[in-house]
Amino acid sequence: MQENENQPVSRDHAGFPWKQVIGLLLSLVLTFLALWIAVGHLLPVQPTIAIIVALAIFQAFIQLFMFMHVTEGTEPVHQLIGILFGIYVAFAVVGGTIWILYYQM
C-alpha cells in the first residue's frame, strides 16, 4: 500500500480492542494509585516520591506499547529517534527543574 496516497480507514476489525481496554484500565489504576498515595499521606515523603516516579515510568511504557504503536511502523528509525529525543527532553525538564529549584528545598 502506498503511504503517500490517502487511504480509507480499515473496516475489518481484528476482534475486540483488548489491548486498548487493558491499557486504559491500567492507566487509570496507576494514576489513581499515585493520587491515593500522595493525597492520603500514607508514606513519608521520600518513598512517596520514589513510588510515584516508578508508577509514572511504568505508565509511560503502557502508553508506548498499548496506544502508541511503538512496535509497529514501516521505519523503525523514526521510532528510535522519537524515543531518544523524548528521553533527552524528559531528562532536560526533570533534571533541569531539580537542578534549578534544588537550593529552595
Partner: protein, 655 residues
C-alpha cells in the same frame, strides 16, 4: 431579587469604561450584521458545507489566516492603546488596572492567537502542496485543531466584555496569577482559553510530523524537501515535545484556581518558581515554533527571487536541527534574576549563546544565496530582505541578554522588550507577511497588488524601526516594562513620543495591507499560469487556486528544486506524456470538529465562572462527539475521472 440580578449583571459584564461600552456596541452591531448578511444572501448552507465542516487543508489554512489576521488586529489595537497611554508622561488614558489587562491580552493574543495560527495557516496551505500530497495525514484531526484554536481564541476575547480580562502578563507568573492575589475570572479565562487552543496546537504538531514523514511524493527523500517543509518538520517535533510542559503547567494552575490546590503557592508547600520554570520550558521552544517556520519561508522566497538554488541546503537543515536541540536547554535565561545558583546561570548563559551559532550560519547562507543571484524585488522578497538586518539586530541584542551578569541590568527593562519585538516582528511578522504575499495566488488565484504591497512594506518596516530602535536606549535609560505611566523629568518623554509615532505608523502599514487585500480581491491580477513567481517547488506546478485534490497526478521527484527541474525538462523537450487520470480518494467533510469545539467552548466558559452545571454538560458533549466519531466508517469518497478532467480543463491544464 431585582437587586441580586443587577448585582450579578454588573459583575458579569465589564462596566464603567466608555471604551468598553463602545466595544460592546460594536461587537453587537458586527454580530447582528454578520447574521443578517448570511441570512439575507441565504449563505448559511454554503457556510456550513463549504467552510465549517471542511477538512480540506487549503480551506482550513485560509480560515486560520482570517482568524489570525483578526487577532492580529485586536493585538495591534491593544498595542496602540498602550503606546497612546505612554506617549507623554503622566497621561491617564488608561488606568493602571486597565493597562495591565491590555499588555496581558496583547502578549497572549499576539503569540498564541495571532502568530501561531498564522503560521499554522501558511503550513496548512503550503506543506501538502510542497511535498506532493493530496491532504494532510489526518484531515479530520486538522479540522479539530483549527476549531479548538478558534474556540480558545473566542473564549479569550470574550473576557474583554464579560467578566474581565486577565491581568498577570502573558507569562502569568504565580503567585500573582493565583487565586489569592487575583480572585476574579480573568486568569481563569487565560488558563482555559490557552489550554483549549493548546490541545489544537499539539494535534497540529502530530499531524504535520506524520504528514511530512509519510506522505511525501515518490522520490522525495527527506533531504530533497523544500526548506519550508523541513522547517515545519522540525517545528512539529518541537511542538510535540514542548507543549505538554505547558499543558501540565496550565492544568496545575487550573486545579489551583478552581479547586484550591497549592502547586504554585508557598503557603502550603508549593513553589511559585515552578510555574516560571514550566512556563518557560514551553515558552522558549515556543519562540522557535514561531521562528523556524518563517526561516523556512524566507529560505524558499529568497531562493525563488534570487533565481538560484538555496546555498548550503544541508547546513541549513542541520542548523535547524541544532536549534531544536538547544531550544530545550535554554529556558532559564528568562529568569536569570530569580535567584538561581551561579553554576545554573552559567550553564544556561552558555547554552543560550550557543544558539547564535546555528542562527548565524543561516543568516550567512541567505546572504550567499543572494550572492550573484538575479534578484527580483517583489513584495515577498522585500519582506525577506528586510528580515535579514532587522532580525540580526534582535539576535545580537539577544546575545547581550544571554550574559547572566549583564542581564541583571537589562532584565525586564525596555531593552528586553525591544529585543523580543526585534525578533518576533522582524522575524515572525515579516515572515508571515512574506508568506502571505508569496502564497496568496496559490490560495485565491489572483495576486496581491505589488505597488500597494510595497507601500505597506515600507511604511511598516520604517515605522517598526522608529518604534523599536529608540526602545533599546529607553531601556538603558532605566524605563522598565509594564509601567503604566511615568513622571516627567526623567528624559523618557521624547523617546516615548517617537515610539508612539512609530507604533501608529505600523498600524497604518497594516491598514494599507488590509486595503490591498480588499482592492486586490476586486481588481487583483489573475494568476492563469499557476506559477506567477517562476517558483522552484511543487506547489507552483499546479493550477491557482489549487484544485480540491491538489495533484491530478502525484508527481515523481528526483531533485531538490523539483518544479525547476520539471520546467527544465520541459524546455529540453524531455517531458513525459501525462498518464490517464485515476479516481482520487478524498476524505469526507465532517461537522463533528466544529460541534465538539462548541462544546469545548461551553465547558471552558462554565469552568471560568465556576459554573459546573454548565461545564460538566460541555465536557460530556465533547466526549459524546469523540465517541460518535469513532463509529464513523464511511469517511471518504472518490472523485471520478470525468470530474478531474473537467476541473483540469477549466484550469487550462488539459489541451
Amino acid at each position: 431579587m431585582m437587586d441580586s440580578i443587577t448585582n450579578f449583571l454588573s459583575h458579569f459584564f465589564v462596566t464603567g469604561d466608555p471604551m468598553i461600552y463602545g466595544a460592546d456596541a460594536s461587537i453587537a452591531l458586527v454580530s447582528v450584521a454578520v447574521l443578517a448578511v448570511l441570512t439575507y444572501f441565504k449563505k448559511w448552507k454554503w457556510l456550513w458545507n463549504e467552510w465549517l465542516t471542511t477538512v480540506d487543508h487549503k480551506k482550513i489554512g485560509i480560515m486560520y489566516i482570517i482568524a489570525a489576521l483578526l487577532m492580529f488586529f485586536r493585538g495591534g489595537v491593544d498595542a496602540l492603546m498602550m503606546r497612546t497611554q505612554l506617549a507623554m508622561p503622566g497621561l491617564s488614558f488608561l488606568n493602571a488596572e486597565h493597562y495591565n489587562q491590555v499588555f496581558t491580552t496583547h502578549g497572549t493574543i499576539m503569540i498564541i492567537f495571532a502568530a501561531m495560527p498564522f503560521i499554522f495557516g501558511l503550513m496548512n496551505i503550503a506543506v501538502p502542496l510542497q511535498i506532493g500530497a493530496r491532504d494532510v495525514a489526518f484531515p479530520f484531526l486538522n479540522a479539530v485543531s483549527f476549531w479548538l484554536f478558534f474556540a480558545g481564541a473566542m473564549l479569550f476575547n470574550l473576557s474583554f466584555v464579560i467578566g474581565g480580562s486577565p491581568d498577570a502578563g502573558w507569562s502569568s507568573y504565580a503567585p500573582f496569577a493565583g487565586i489569592e492575589l487575583n480572585p476574579g475570572v480573568g486568569q481563569n479565562y487565560y488558563v482555559l482559553a490557552v489550554q483549549i487552543s493548546g490541545i489544537g496546537s499539539l494535534a497540529t504538531g502530530i499531524n504535520f510530523l506524520v504528514t511530512i514523514l509519510k506522505m511525501r511524493a515518490p522520490g522525495m527523500k527527506l533531504f530533497k524537501m523544500p526548506m519550508f517543509s523541513w522547517s515545519i518538520l522540525i517545528t512539529s517535533v518541537i511542538i510535540i515535545f514542548a507543549f505538554p510542559a505547558f499543558t501540565v503547567a496550565l492544568a496545575l494552575m487550573t486545579i489551583d484556581r478552581l479547586f484550591g490546590a497549592h502547586f504554585f503557592t508557598i503557603a502550603a508547600g508549593g513553589s511559585p518558581m515552578l510555574w516560571a520554570n514550566l512556563f518557560w520550558f514551553w515558552g522558549h521552544p515556543e519562540v522557535y515554533i514561531v521562528l523556524l517556520p518563517v526561516f523556512g519561508i524566507f529560505s524558499d522566497v529568497i531562493a525563488t527571487f534570487a533565481h538560484k538554488t538555496l546555498f548550503g541546503y544541508a547546513v541549513m537543515v542541520w542548523s535547524m536541527i541544532a536549534i531544536s536541540f538547544l531550544s530545550f536547554i535554554t529556558w532559564l535565561h528568562h529568569f536569570f534574576t530569580m535567584g538561581n545558583t551561579a553554576p545554573v546561570n552559567a550553564f544556561f548563559s552558555i547554552s543560550t549563546m550557543l544558539i547564535a551559532i546555528p542562527t548565524g550560519v543561516k543568516i550567512f547562507n541567505w546572504l550567499f544565496t543572494l550572492n550573484k543571484g538575479r534578484i527580483e524585488f517583489t513584495t515577498p522578497m522585500l519582506w525577506a530582505l528586510a528580515f535579514i538586518p532587522n532580525f540580526t539586530i534582535g539576535g545580537v541584542t539577544g546575545v547581550m541578554l544571554a550574559m547572566a551578569p549583564a542581564d541583571y541590568q537589562y532584565h525586564n527593562s525596555y531593552f528586553l522588550v525591544a529585543h523580543f519585538h526585534s525578533t518576533l516582528i522582524a522575524g515572525t511578522v515579516f515572515g508571515i507577511f512574506c508568506g502571505l504575499h508569496y502564497w496568496w495566488p496559490k490560495m485565491f488565484g489572483y495576486l496581491l497588488d505589488e505597488k500597494k504591497g510595497k507601500w505597506a512594506f515600507w511604511v511598516f518596516m520604517i515605522s517598526f524601526n522608529i518604534c523599536f530602535m529608540p526602545m533599546y536606549f529607553l531601556g538603558l535609560m532605566g524605563m522598565t516594562r509594564r509601567m503604566y505611566t511615568y513622571p516627567a523629568g526623567l528624559g523618557w518623554g521624547p523617546i516615548n513620543f517617537i515610539m508612539t509615532i512609530g507604533a501608529f505608523g505600523m498600524g497604518i502599514g497594516f491598514a494599507i495591507m488590509a486595503y490591498n487585500i480588499v482592492w486586490s480581491a476586486i481588481h487583483g491580477k489573475k494568476d492563469t499560469t499557476g506559477d506567477p513567481w517562476d517558483g522552484r517547488t511543487l506547489e507552483w506546478s499546479i493550477a491557482s487556486p489549487a484544485p480540491e485534490y491538489n495533484f491530478a497526478h502525484i508527481p515523481t521527484v528526483s531533485t531538490r528544486d523539483a518544479f525547476e527541474t520539471m520546467k527544465e525538462e520541459k524546455r529540453a523537450g524531455r517531458a513525459k506524456p501525462p498518464a490517464p487520470f485515476k479516481p482520487i480518494h478524498m476524505p469526507n467533510n465532517s461537522g463533528i470538529p466544529v460541534i465538539m469545539s462548541a462544546f469545548m467552548f461551553v465547558a471552558g466558559f462554565g469552568f471560568v465562572f465556576w459554573w459546573f452545571w454548565m461545564a460538566i454538560p460541555g465536557v460530556i458533549g465533547v466526549i459524546a462527539c469523540l465517541i460518535a466519531r469513532s463509529f464513523v466508517y464511511d469517511d471518504f469518497h472518490h472523485i471520478p475521472v470525468d470530474e478531474i478532467e473537467r476541473t483540469e480543463r477549466a484550469a487550462g491544464r488539459l489541451s
